[in-house]
């Protein structure tokens, strides 16, 4: 059986991944997918390359958790998440998310949900090489609010809030 989650240094074949989500499954009517790529600019600086660090073990576990959440939430027939780590250059692929469903609404929603959560929960950190030197990328406010859109009751997100908020609440 094909894995649902892969964390790897190697590139991946987008067409093959999308095709595999519907191959031999005539109940699939919709495959929504996303490819994230390295850009040559970020926050105004030129980016020559970046290195993605991750937390082996927790990475796979958190991606699997995200997929399980999506399964409970939408009617999906197949899902696939691939995330690369290591050194990557502009135009290189970073991440692939693909979701197969009978209907397009579920496929789109689950795919975007997985990407939003992946951005805020999966333990990856980007270090960019710019003309001014190397720097760690700061988490973006926009990503947190994108993930917050999906919170139903807040319990799932409580552990994700910043430490400061927890301390202030005491």
């Amino acid at each position: 059986m094909r894995p649902q989650v892969s964390v790897q240094e190697a590139d991946f074949d987008v067409g093959a991944e999308i095709a595999a989500l519907s191959a031999g499954r005539p109940e699939v009517g919709a495959v929504a997918s996303f490819v994230g790529l390295v850009r040559d600019v970020n926050d105004g600086s030129g980016v020559r390359a970046m290195t993605l660090e991750h937390y082996p073990g927790m990475t796979e576990r958190s991606l699997t958790d995200i997929i399980e959440q999506a399964k409970r939430r939408w009617s999906v027939l197949g899902m696939r998440v691939i995330h690369r780590y290591g050194r990557l250059e502009p135009t290189d692929r970073i991440v692939f998310v693909g979701v197969a469903s009978s209907h397009r609404g579920d496929a789109f929603a689950a795919c975007e949900f997985i990407m939003d959560y992946l951005k805020t929960r999966a333990p990856f950190w980007k270090r960019e090489e710019t003309p001014e030197g190397a720097r760690w990328v700061d988490a973006r406010e926009a990503d947190d609010s994108a993930a917050a859109r999906w919170a139903e009751d807040g319990t799932g997100d409580a552990v994700d809030e910043s430490w400061e908020e927890v301390e202030q609440r005491r």
Partner: protein, 86 residues
């Protein structure tokens, strides 16, 4: 009774503390993720990156964990900055 935990540091936090991980015998009174963080920050210098007010996240046994979460023998605790994947 020994209370050893495995601690991991990632990304900018790993660089600040100068190591990717360690085994530690928990000092008396250090019973939560938050208490462990405060204990480590008390080592000074680069360890200040773990001080209160810094934007640090933690995981206990590979799941995100808040400051109140209790820790015990054999646990794997990780500290890192907010994630920036995808």
């Amino acid at each position: 009774m020994t209370m050893k935990v495995k601690i991991l540091y990632f990304a900018s936090l790993r660089e600040a503390v100068g190591q990717s991980g360690e085994e530690l015998e928990l000092p008396a009174g250090v019973e939560t993720v938050g208490a462990l963080r405060a204990h480590l920050a008390g080592r000074g210098e680069g360890w200040q990156a773990l001080a209160a007010g810094r934007n640090v996240r933690a995981a206990l046994n590979q799941r995100m964990a808040g400051a109140d979460v209790p820790i015990g023998a054999g646990d794997e605790v990780a500290f890192f900055p907010p994630v920036t994947g995808g």
